[in-house]
Symmetry: C2
Subunit: 250 residues, 2 copies
């Protein structure tokens, strides 16, 4: 797929870009997804391109919430499918969640292609291709979802989610777990739990936390109780502002 | 081209995205250009999506440098051609510069398409299609340029330029004027003058400054003398860090 040597200082970042460009060629990613990724790249840059301790705390709380959920669902869009399909499938297995393809720029063809990628990584029974329910308050195509999946879910993991859709899910009374690099986005500030991290780092971290908390209900309870979204987002934003100033002094 | 109402609070930003997505479909913009635009969007967001007073000071100095130049050239890439072709042509007319198409991901077809767009907006004799010189220190395709244009220019305006190319031009002894939303990029920190602003705002501002300073050599001299790149970039970055913290308190 690529000629980028693993020793390249920006290897991880360049690989993510290549995966998205490939995804665009394959009809999985839309052009708007590339622009959105660029915005995320910049936030990741001033975050330090690492999983911060705030992201780790949010991830532990998120793992606890997934384990507590009765009907957890992971919502997958084009960028997520292009960036880390294997990790999404693994998470759905360890946390026993459903997977539903949910697209902002929906077409049946894109849903089918994304489903195929997930299935090729071992997913079973991916939802979203034949929607039979609607998320209230969204435009026609954006509202479509599966009754068995997102519509009746109690907890939805929404990596790289659009603000309108994130808010609409919250209005439906669902608990949501966002993965978003912009700590000030509507998605970040409206979700039950927000992990400010690159999705390719966040999903493996979440898998590890689910595995860790699976047998330890007490630790899971503590992780959830200790987590305060607004305080967490505040610390993340302060860290970013601090890093931005530090770049100055170099 | 679009259904976005002018009253939409994010109208300008959405139009820029649409122009780039159109440019991608037309083969002018490459996918990597969309990711780069996304990074810029984020910086613009924390800049306040406006032309700051630092950008205004840099723009005045840039106008003075263009007016002083013996062989000024504007380097145009796919994103610039998609975002503000008419403005680029107008600037080349008021500042009496050449225009050369210079691409990071070069293909003759893309150069030809970009040339056609510029000509459709009134440009005469656009350079770049038949390169006959090389910028030392760059890979084969990236090094190509025109002897009559960039190769023999004394001042080159490089909106949205890649860091390698920007540094190579400086090593050739050229004075460069960068337009870049990332005040910490190699392009920003290596150019003679750096305007940290969205290119669609920066080019009209530069046109106005060229027109203003054209008949006033003394004011032009003062604008150039007063400008200090590192101080200017420091103030911009401080402003961004401050804005980031302010978002916190909302």
């Amino acid at each position: 797929m690529t000629d980028i040597p693993k020793s390249h200082p920006r290897y991880e970042s360049l690989i993510r870009r290549e995966r998205l460009v490939e995804g665009l060629k394959d009809g999985i990613v839309v052009p708007q997804g590339l622009i959105a990724h660029g915005r995320g790249e910049m936030f990741d840059y001033i975050l330090g391109e690492r999983t911060t301790k705030e992201a780790k705390a949010a991830s532990r709380a998120a793992a606890a919430l997934l384990l507590k959920a009765k009907r957890p669902v992971i919502s997958v869009n084009g960028n997520v499918a292009a960036l880390c399909p294997a990790e999404i499938v693994k998470l759905s297995q360890v946390a026993k969640t459903r997977i539903e393809v949910g697209l902002f720029h929906r077409s049946d063809e894109r849903v089918a292609k994304i489903e195929r990628i997930l299935v090729s990584h071992g997913a079973m029974n991916v939802l979203g291709f034949l929607p039979d329910a609607r998320i209230p308050g969204l435009d026609s195509l954006r509202a479509l979802c599966s009754k068995e999946g997102i519509y009746s879910a109690d907890v939805v993991l929404i990596p790289l989610e659009d603000g309108d859709r994130a808010e609409a899910l919250v209005r439906m009374g669902k608990q949501t777990i966002a993965i978003d690099l912009n700590p000030m986005s509507r998605t970040s500030t409206h979700s039950t739990i927000t992990i400010v991290d690159q999705v390719t780092r966040a999903i493996p971290e979440l898998i590890a936390n689910v595995e860790d908390l699976k047998e330890d209900q007490r630790a899971a309870k503590v992780a959830l109780e200790k987590y305060d979204r607004d305080e967490n987002l505040g610390l993340v934003t302060k860290g970013m502002a601090g890093n931005l100033r530090k770049f100055l002094d170099r």
